[in-house]
Amino acid sequence: MMEHDDIHKKIAASLESLDGVSRATPAPYLLTRINAKLNALEAPNFWSRAGALLSKPKIAGIGMMVFIVMNIFVINSLKKNNTPAALTQGTTNIRYDFAINVSSIYDIENQEP
């Protein structure tokens, strides 16, 4: 019974513990810290400016177009060069460049007696 009363007293005391509480105050120079935060927000660095520029729809669109045109150009130029003669030429060049002496069926056939 005594314990029950104690608990009720503690609950009542806890609920009243914030009566007459005074306001907590922040650390000094809060305004200075806020101003520093505002200045940091107002002066963006190189990367944030570059990011902001690239995220503009016009710039992003132009960038995408340039990328697509460059890809088309590269694909077309590869198609032009991709003939069997050019390929053979390329292989022969590599063979001479690296001095690879590969024996093949053609080498055997062309051997002089």
């Binding site: 608990i7 609950i11 609920l15 513990s17 509480v21 306001r23 809060l30 806020i34």
Partner: protein, 189 residues
Amino acid sequence: MNQADILERLKMGDNAVFADIVNLWQDMVYNTALGIVQNEEDAEDITQEVFVQVYESIGDFREEAKLSTWLYRITISKSLDMEKKKQRQKRGGLLKRIFEPTEAEVPVSFDHPGVKLDNKENAAALFNAIRKLPEKQRLAFVLQKLESLSNEEIGAVLQMSVVAVDSLLARARTNLKSILKGYYEKNLK
């Protein structure tokens, strides 16, 4: 200077008025944030963020509400955001603890600097219980106890009727009694 003049000058970018606003309301903002997040560092960060937002979005302020009501709303919103961020970090921490078990975590006891010395222990138990209340009840109780707002003012901040605030506070009290009962039954034995 009345509210309309303050707002007019603030919208024109008058830094002296902004400094006056910070000096006038910094304790109110900090104390409210501290009551909600129960952590001095977080409350300090929230206070800074609140005034940065005031500076940036003063143009959006509709003059039908009081400036202090608007400040309370921003403070509450920032405090709840901070809590959500902390909870996300805690969840990440839980995964970490599963893989790298460390020593058991001690429950945090909050000591509000404005509480009288002889009430510190009881207030710590109360703050612990406040943390377990549903969000709206917690906000209403904090505004009533720490900021001494009337039910009408709490209603304006939380955008609800006075009757709803009455009922919210009554439920908060009932829940707090039950939480504290459980706490003291465990700790008085």
